[in-house]
Amino acid sequence: MTQDMLLTMVSGVPWTIALTAVALLIGVVLGIPLCAMRMSKLVVLRMVANTLILTLRAIPPIVWLFFIFFGLDTGFVSLNPFQAAAIGLGLITAANMAEIYRGAMSAIHSGQSEASMALGLSTYHRFFDVLGPQLFRVALPSAASYAIGLLKDSAIASTIGVHEIAFQASHVSQRTFRGLDVYAVAGLLYILLSLPIAWASRWADLHLRARVAR
Amino acid sequence: MSLNSSSIPQADVASRPPLLRLDAIGKTFGTHVVLEDIDLSLAAGEVVAIIGPSGSGKSTLLRCINQLEPPTTGRVTIGDTTIEAGHTPTRRELMALRRNIGMVFQSFNLFPHLTVLRNVSLAQERVMGRTREQADAVSMQLLARVGLADKAQQFPSRCSGGQQQRIAIARALALDPQIMLFDEPTSALDPELGLEVLAVMRELAEGGMTMIVVTHEMRFAENVSDRVIIMADGRIVEQGPSGTVMRNPQTERAQRFLHAVKDR
């Protein structure tokens, strides 16, 4: 493996990080209303949310990315690969985050009815001031392991041409015909990138546990 | 394995060669000394009750005997098998030991995914090499003996606690052991259910089974066992014929313990 090859692959790292971060942000934010709908008292809202979540999770990410990139591109909207990948992965993340929030809610509350009451508008403040921080702490470990999964899923964006690690790896491997070490290094890069997330999550978990537990 | 042979008189018991011998058994967990210098020898047909305060090492002693917990020092001898602390016993030695010792746990530990019959048959097939038919036939007899033949095809979860413990006794008897160890077999049970288990144990004792029973049932210790051992802080603080020890303890530690539990 030459230095040149290695540098090319490492040049994908910022793209991988950026894609993961943007998709995660979209998912973390959109997951909140989706979770609220999923736990709403209105049957219609619940059903819509449930269908959305099930559909987003049932169809493989690569199909969503192709759909958004090739499918939507035919007419008035035109997305670049990064945008398409961020939206696709972000929506899938939203569905998964909604489920993670819901799991955390029922872990905090014993009863689901109570949890959905907390989501009513009248208790808006109670939710954000009291429940929010607790929710954050309970949801953190699953959210962190989801983030690591997302980091790995972001490799799929190479198939629509986002210049991230997997893209650079296949580029280099096609150029040099050295798949063995190229893909081994690519795999290693992903593993290395996931380590800080795991550490940060463990650190935050300990830190917050000490605080919330008092 | 007949239940009906008459109980063995006290004097007779002491003169027989020991069936089980413990020499200087010690056990430490890290730096925590749980058992220290335990000597014990058990004649065939003898029933020994071990009593003592919580944490005194009673369960650990039982578990050291059948090597669920390897002792740190000392020696366990049963028949012509001797297991020395410090040497990892061979598989053959362990098998010889465990085939000769049946154990009944406080929490029954029946296999929940197997029927009552399979619970009792499993070891006969896998350890004694009996066929399924032979094993099931023996198991049915054993279940009949503990009064549960009608539960054979049920799963343990469908049985009451007392029934489960009686099944556990049948399971332990299935290998035709020479010695039975009981670790607080009635502690997890309502008193009423405990009685049906104690009745089975009493019958076993009267049938000549050699038994070590860790118990909080002072009446059982006094009336059924031949000998009582009182443990405290990992040591044997007093032992002797059950009547004497229970009514007339000599050491201050034993007196204190018996005084504390005399209402039970």
């Binding site: 690569i62 790995k152 | 598989r91 029946l110 070891a123």
Partner: protein, 218 residues
């Protein structure tokens, strides 16, 4: 609308062929990967240090590297080491590796869920290590693991879509091919999505129902 239905009907046979390949590659990978996961779960708890070390590396790489990279590694990489495999065999190796790594964690959790008293009881009645595992511990551990293993199987069917990258003619490859020849990506991708959803949504609902049922009994 009629036009869309005609388009779908025209290409449905090719898409179903693709779906069949997806299901086959998933099935074979699971059939190899789950037993591998069981072995890894046991090896990770083994007393032998080298064994434990190897198992941990296999699990951590299988879980840590993206499935796409594993696929490309086996398909484009292994030929460098003198091992050229067709895309189906490469896919099976990569996905079975991934399955083994993930299911070893699922099975390990199942093993840990079996109460310690069960192992002791098995030992006390004289069962040797292997028999205790086979007759007492594993049946209980696997029972606990079943919902998670089924859930993982659904994820694997989805992951098989990544075999697109190594030219395995599975569902996404077929859709992509049809899309690139007809320039009608949108409808064919919708059909692909519908086919995945038709399998995965009912399966997901069934698995969570099973989970609830087992949870209620525990």
């Amino acid at each position: 609308m009629n036009d869309l239905v005609d388009f779908w009907l025209e290409h449905l046979p090719a898409m179903l062929d693709g779906l069949l390949v997806s299901v086959q590659v998933t099935g074979v990978s699971l059939a190899i990967g789950v037993p591998l996961g069981l072995m890894l779960a046991l090896a990770v708890q083994s007393r032998s240090k080298p064994m434990r070390g190897i198992a941990i590396v296999v699990v951590e790489v299988g879980r840590g590297a993206p499935a796409l990279i594993l696929l490309q590694f086996t398909y484009f990489g292994l030929p460098n080491a003198g091992l050229s495999l067709d895309s189906f065999a490469s896919a099976v190796i990569a996905l079975a590796w991934c399955t083994g790594a993930y299911t070893s964690e699922i099975i390990r959790a199942g093993l840990e869920a079996v109460p310690h008293g069960q192992k002791e009881a098995a030992e006390a009645i004289g069962l040797n290590h292997l028999d205790a595992l086979r007759y007492v511990i594993l049946p209980q551990a696997l029972r606990v693991s079943v919902p998670a293993l089924l859930g993982f199987s659904i994820l694997m069917l989805q992951a098989s879509s990544l075999c697109f990258a190594i030219a395995l003619p599975e569902l996404v490859s077929q859709a992509y091919l049809i899309g690139s020849t007809t320039f009608r990506y949108m409808p064919i991708l919708v059909l692909a999505g519908l086919l995945y959803a038709a399998i995965c949504i009912p399966a997901t609902i069934a698995v969570s129902a099973l989970e609830r049922k087992l949870g209620a009994h525990a």
